[in-house]
């Protein structure tokens, strides 16, 4: 069953209702969903989710924690599926349960499940199965979001909010560039040698660090290179490699100018 709103798969303003009571989990899920450019709306209980859905049904997917206090996730889902206005919205269970238990969730009316391990790729796959059921326009939508030029070099506001101290931020930035410079050097060598395994290993590492550093432009450029290499697109890979270098240089300038570091 697919949400009627999700039929327009090229739209970028995808809204996902996250029903989760733990504050930390809410934050991490919102953060992961934002990677795809998706909006998240949080409900901290089944009751709050139902109240919210009574006012607003424009959600393409609902992520449902099962072990909620009060009305649990199963009961909340049952009520969602009883309501004509919301029954078409796919509900994906977030669960740490066993495979047998997950099958029970599906039998109980949930549309899918994702393991509650905060693995972005697994979560994206579980959601995209419902957003882009036939695969149509998925690449177009993802490509549009993956354009590195659209992203910031670095999200200073987030970093400062997280670390609350510019001195710590400087230490983090220095450590980031020490590692990133090393990875870029190795990546350059791997590109010259057309060493697919080494390129993918470097991309994996650089993409992970860039994401944690909130350097979205570099992370997205690295992902583009990784995708090109995985798909064997040699000419596109050259262009993506240049984007990685440009994003790295742009990031360096942004950090130098903002933090006054000699990097």
């Amino acid at each position: 069953m697919y949400s009627k709103v999700a039929d327009d798969t090229s739209r970028k303003d995808i809204r996902i209702l996250v029903v989760e009571d733990v504050d930390f989990n809410q934050k991490i899920l919102a953060d992961i969903l934002a990677e795809r450019g998706w909006q998240s709306v949080i409900a901290t209980s089944g009751e709050e989710a139902l109240a919210l859905l009574a006012q607003d049904t424009d959600f393409q997917v609902i992520l449902m924690d099962i072990g909620l206090p009060g009305i649990d996730g199963m009961e909340t889902t049952r009520k969602i599926k009883e309501n004509q206005a919301t029954l078409a919205i796919p509900v994906i269970a977030l669960t740490a349960e066993t495979a047998a238990e997950q099958e029970r969730l599906l039998a109980a009316g949930l549309d899918g499940y994702a393991e509650k391990n905060f693995d972005p790729e697994q979560l994206f796959a579980a959601i995209e199965k419902h957003l882009f059921p036939a695969g149509a326009n998925r690449q177009e939508a993802v490509d549009a979001l993956a354009n590195p030029a659209e992203h910031l070099d670095l999200n200073f506001a987030t970093l400062l909010a997280t670390y609350a101290d510019e001195a710590i931020l400087c230490r983090i930035a220095l450590a980031f560039f020490a590692d990133a410079d090393k990875e870029l050097h190795l990546l350059g060598e791997a590109m010259s040698a057309c060493d697919r395994t080494a390129i993918l290993a470097c991309c994996h590492s650089l993409k992970g660090s860039s994401t944690i550093f909130t350097a979205k432009k570099l992370a997205m450029a690295t992902k583009e290179l990784e995708d090109c290499v995985r798909q064997g697109k040699k000419i596109d890979a050259e262009s993506a490699w240049n984007k990685v270098l440009a994003a790295h240089e742009s990031l360096r300038k942004a950090v130098k100018s903002r933090l006054g570091l000699s990097i």
Binding site: F24, F118, D119, P120, E121, Q122, D179, S205, G208
Partner: protein
């Protein structure tokens, strides 16, 4: 030698990742002196021979003795008891779970995405390293 459950070892080849993990642990209340670091599995193993550190937060992919190789050596080859070993990685979980299934190891795996958020004693440290969380609770009293 009695393990000191207030200590923890971070294993990752990237200085940046080790630093962020350290900040997260410090933020959860772990004293800086109780946090140890190693750049790869071999360096971690050498440290664990010299010093009994029962809590280990270890990267999955490393060039010299990766996370699963280190866990295999500790749990299967040496049959060490009382260790809390958590793998963390940016690799898709399914791949790691499959690799773990081959070895028969039953250890938790968490994505590095979690490094982007602050950790708390109860939410995360308590889940993975319960004895460390108990130590932190006692420190607060």
């Amino acid at each position: 030698m009695q393990p000191d459950y207030s200590t923890i070892l971070i294993v990752d080849n990237a200085e940046f990742i080790r630093m962020i993990a350290r900040l997260r642990l410090e933020g959860a209340g772990v004293p800086p002196r109780n946090i140890h670091e190693a750049e790869n599995g071999q360096q971690a193993y050498d440290l664990l021979v010299a010093k009994e550190i029962p809590n280990i937060l270890c990267d999955y992919e490393m060039e010299v003795l990766d996370g699963i190789e280190l866990a295999t050596r500790l749990f299967i080859t040496e049959k060490r008891k009382g260790l809390r070993f958590v793998l963390f990685s940016g690799t898709p979980m399914a791949k790691i779970t499959a690799a773990l299934a081959e070895t028969g190891l039953d250890i938790p795996v968490i994505p590095k995405t979690l490094l982007r958020e602050n950790w708390t004693k109860t939410e995360l440290v308590g889940t993975w390293f319960p004895e460390l969380a108990t130590f932190l609770s006692q420190q607060q009293k």
